[in-house]
């Protein structure tokens, strides 16, 4: 598995192929379709990430020393955003997820979604994924 940094750069390169926002959004919507979908049994209210206008459920498991994320959302743009995050962070070691930076979101032209007041709650998603990683890290230690 490639390092988080490499995958993030790869995603940035892919998005750079498009010259307008519409194509970027269309690509993001496509990525949403490849999201490793959360098992229905985990789509419970306590797994909903707060701060999103749409519903986002995230589940995390530790497989060996790597974190596997699955997720879903009832809005497809939100699903695309979470898919991008999970593509970079799923299958990585907890410590690497904790340390991962999120500048690549800005670089792929989705900066507006990083505002804390933005209704999609990307900031909340990032925080939640890191919280899971932190919990697993303390288990390992």
């Amino acid at each position: 598995m490639a390092q988080i940094q490499e995958i993030q750069e790869e995603i940035v390169d892919e998005f750079n192929l498009f010259d307008d926002w519409m194509q970027r959004y269309e690509y993001m919507i496509d990525l949403g379709k490849s999201l490793p979908v959360i098992d229905e049994q985990y789509k419970t209210d306590d797994r909903i990430i707060k701060g999103c206008q749409s519903k986002v459920w995230v589940h995390a498991e530790l497989a060996g020393d790597k974190v596997q994320f699955t997720a879903d959302s009832d809005a497809i743009i939100t699903k695309g955003i979470i898919a991008i995050l999970i593509r970079a962070w799923s299958g990585q070691r907890p410590q690497d997820i904790i340390e991962a930076n999120t500048d690549f979101i800005d670089e792929i032209g989705l900066k507006e979604h990083l505002s804390p007041t933005r209704a999609n709650g990307l900031v909340s998603m990032i925080k939640q994924l890191k919280m899971y990683a932190l919990a697993f890290q303390s288990q390992i230690n």
Binding site: W21, M22, Y25, E26, I29, Q53, S54, K55, D74, A75, I76, I77, T78, A119, N120
Partner: protein, 404 residues
Amino acid sequence: MLDIAKVRAQFPILKREVNGKPLVYFDNAATSQKPQVVIDAIVDYYSNYNANIHRGVHALSQEATDVYEAARENVRAFFNIPLAKQTLFTSGNTHSINAVASGAHVFVKEGDEVIVSAVEHHSNIVPWQMLCERVGAHLKVIPVLDNGTLDMDAYQQLLNDKTAFVVVNHVSNALGVTNPVAEIIKRAHAVNALVLIDGAQSCGHMKVDVQALDADFYTMSGHKMCGPTGIGILYGKEHLLNELPPYQGGGEMIDQVSFEKTTYAGLPHKFEAGTPNICGGIALGAAVDYLNEVGMDNIAAYEHELLVYGTEQLKKIDGITIYGDVPDKAAVISFNVSSIHPYDIGTIVDKLGIAVRTGHHCAQPVMTRFNIPGTVRASFAFYNTKEEIDVMVQAMQRAVMMLS
């Protein structure tokens, strides 16, 4: 008749672009834009006669007091409120409602019933829930029919001699439907219940005459009627405002203060503790002048034209469902397209320069009633145009194509 080009020229913000596109502002139910005269009134106050009011003997204080009180008089006349002292300045509609609900234990006793409607904004639900919890009263709900109107038969059934208060909005913020408030008030009065009407969505869009309605309390929001944020109005019948205890203690609201006993000032000061939003009140006065100049009849007629046109055009989108599609409504269209999440549509059309609201509009019970996560809400004002509606419909179609 409105001269739209002239009207639009008075709103500086309408000249700006968003995401490289001319702004199409259809979030007027959240807040209205401000004409230059209102912006000028704010600048003029701070530039030329900023002073604290009602207390100073110096010239600036006198001048600021005079303009502030003239603004109150403007607002009084605008809503046909009998007396200036019944025209209370608050920080906004939510403050107005809370000022009544927090003191309403003098009207609502243990075992009494308070009726709200199922289409209320959270700000007209929660204060009454808090009141009911405090005094041991019961909250009853007028259900909403599939077409977004209130179930008036069910309302009649809810009314009885235990009904102490009825609170309903004049226009629903989530659906735009105009409620038959005159009839609601008449029936409530028949069982000796008091009525508060939440006018956040009616003020600035239609002529409101609180005396003709016979409302006991009526609340308004300044920023939804071309005024600034942080200013609102509470109207109440004089004897009720006299009975209602003050909401906040502090300066201005007192008559005499000693550590043994404080006596309160008369109306309106009893409800205006502390230094008020002087600038906000003055600018709201300017907004009312402006609305009068444009003419409320003109505004209502033109906005209705936009509503009819917008509804007609949006219906051309395959799979659209409009909630509250009835003739008697304000220029608000709340809708979904197929099963596309409203958030997705809002995000795409924002990229195209169009400001609509998405989500539950602070009216979660309405969304639960229709079993939807939220809606897309386009709300028009008299400075909007049919051309803008065309741009929005095109943008919606583009979004639907991307998202289906």
